[in-house]
């Protein structure tokens, strides 16, 4: 009843007209001078944010990669150091062993040389001793036996024979 008796539910032509005019102007002016620049700017900013986030993420990934690279390099270096050390140790051991071998060989040689020298000296000394002993024996025997011995060759041979026995016993 209230609605029927009132102009509330019947649109007035003037209001319709002015609404069309006002809203059209509102719409067109804002579209050209407000909505487009605003939306553009907002979009630009969003893209920038998106781009920055993406590049930050990229940088982060790169850093992680770099870090793992670093670690790998470090690991490799450590391994290399290890192997170098090992090699050095081996070389040192080998050198020591070699040196040891050479030294003992040399010592052996020296000892051998010394022994042969001694042998030779000894032989010489023995020969000398034998001669001297022979001479002494002859002298002693000749002094003891005198002429008897000098006359008989058989006696000389006997003495020689005894001396040889002595010599052999000594050896």
């Amino acid at each position: 009843m209230i609605l029927a008796s009132n102009s509330l539910t019947t649109p007035a032509i003037g209001t319709l007209f002015w609404t069309v005019v006002i809203f059209t102007i509102f719409f067109l002016v804002l579209t050209k001078f407000a909505w487009k620049p605003i939306l553009n700017m907002v979009k630009q900013r969003e893209e920038m944010i998106k781009g920055s986030l993406a590049s930050a993420e990229k940088a982060r990934k790169e850093m992680v990669k770099l870090q793992s690279d670093n670690e790998a390099i470090l690991k490799k270096a450590r391994e290399e150091r290890e192997s170098i050390l090992k090699e050095a140790r081996e070389v040192r051991d080998k050198m020591i062993a070699e040196a040891k071998g050479k030294a003992s060989e040399e010592a052996d040689k020296i000892v051998e040389k010394a022994r042969t020298g001694i042998e030779r000296e000894k032989a010489l000394a023995l020969a000398d001793i034998r001669e001297q002993v022979a001479n002494l024996s002859v002298d002693i025997a000749s002094k003891l036996l005198g002429e008897r011995l000098s006359q008989t060759g058989e006696q000389g041979k006997l003495i020689d024979h005894y001396l040889k026995d002595i010599d052999l016993k000594k050896n």
């Binding site: 209230i2 008796s5 009132n6 102009s7 509330l8 539910t9 019947t10 649109p11 007035a12 032509i13 003037g14 209001t15 319709l16 007209f17 002015w18 609404t19 069309v20 006002i22 809203f23 102007i25 509102f26 719409f27 002016v29 804002l30 579209t31 001078f33 407000a34 909505w35 487009k36 620049p37 605003i38 939306l39 700017m41 907002v42 630009q44 900013r45 920038m48």
Partner: protein
């Protein structure tokens, strides 16, 4: 204890404040005081008018803003004059503002014998209260968003500052929560200007309607059927002008429907085309008008009971309603825009098999 205390206080309060009103009533009872008519008081406030009534002085003198009357009459062409000339039922240039009857509130052409010339009704393009309120709202909207657009020229792509922090979320809300979900990311951009304009236009008008005073505020703009009709028509044309092949095919040859059913289906679809914007028109109009009626009714209670004691209760309820209306102002702007976006989205959606 506390409750008893409170009711006691209320009782004292009620008795104290109702006495003067009662005594006044008995005092002026003999003069046959004019009965307060709440329904006409409310309708006067929500209806459109040719002058903007601000207040009535004690000596019955009206203080109101006189608005320009613009008439087009077939016989005499265009007339522009102040509404003051038509006040209190005065005739001016053969025009009269009807004070009662079926044509109440309308300007009519009067014949020489004083009767209404029904065959020669003038077209009324006056800047009425509603139109003025709408103009003010549009200007505020233009001012706000042109300022926002201008502010970007200064700040460029830096974080939002000042006015941007306040208005940009609204723009982003319309884009991210209304346009993109309903129209799709690809096509939403094309309809953003329209959706934003509608949203802001309705929102500012709704909010301005809630402010009772001074004049550019308090007009019942979005509670005027002509305005919601125009907005709904804009959405209607937006849908029809942008509807793609699939949209029209669904109306005139709905896929999967037998041919013999089409004579029934086509009218149904055509009704659907019209009922969508019709619902938009009625929803906005009814919601806003209802809100105004409730607030005014609560204020009227004071005058109906003729007691100041009702005022605190009334005011409390009005504050509550105003908070609710604040929500409704946003909600209705949102719903209108959302449904517009939804209908546009349905009209531009790509056919999927």
């Amino acid at each position: 204890m506390k409750r008893i205390h409170f009711t006691g206080l209320l009782f004292i309060f009620l008795t104290v404040f109702s006495f003067p009103a009662q005594s006044q009533e008995t005092h002026s009872g003999g003069e046959a005081e004019e009965e307060f008519d709440a329904s006409s008081f409310i309708l006067e406030h929500i209806a459109d008018s040719h002058e903007w009534h601000i207040m009535t002085k004690k000596n019955e003198e009206h203080v109101s803003l006189q608005l320009p009357v613009i008439l087009y009459s077939k016989g005499s062409g265009l007339h522009v004059f102040s509404s003051k000339k038509l006040a209190h039922g005065h005739e001016y240039n053969g025009f009269r503002l009807e004070q009662e009857g079926d044509l109440e509130g309308r300007i009519v052409k009067v014949k020489s014998d004083g009767t209404v010339d029904m065959d020669n009704m003038p077209l009324d393009f006056s800047i009425t209260k509603t139109v003025l309120g709408m103009m003010a709202a549009a200007l505020i909207g233009l001012w706000l968003f042109l300022a926002l657009a201008r502010s970007y020229k200064k700040t460029g792509i830096s974080p939002p500052k000042g006015i941007q922090g306040f208005l940009e979320p609204i723009v982003l809300f319309v884009r991210d929560d209304i346009a993109i979900p309903n129209i799709g990311e690809k096509k939403a951009g094309k309809f953003m200007p329209y959706l934003l304009s509608v949203f802001i236009f309705i929102l500012i008008n709704n909010l301005m309607g809630l402010v009772p005073f001074p004049p550019p505020f308090g007009a019942n703009v979005t509670g005027n059927i002509a305005i919601t009709l125009v907005l709904a028509l804009f959405t209607f044309f937006m849908i029809q002008l942008n509807g793609n092949k699939t949209y029209w095919k669904h109306i005139f040859a709905a896929p999967g429907v037998p041919v013999w059913l089409l004579p029934i289906m086509i009218p149904v679809e055509l009704i659907g085309m019209i009922s969508k914007p019709f619902a938009l028109m009625v929803r906005l109009f009814a919601n806003i008008t209802a809100g105004h009626i409730i607030v005014l009714s609560l204020v009227s209670l004071i005058f109906i009971f003729k007691s100041l004691a009702v005022a605190p209760v009334s005011i409390l309820f009005v504050i509550f309603m105003d908070c609710l209306e604040l929500l409704v102002a946003f909600l209705q702007a949102y719903v209108f825009t959302l449904l517009s976006a939804l209908f546009i989205g349905m009209a531009v959606v790509e056919e999927h098999h």
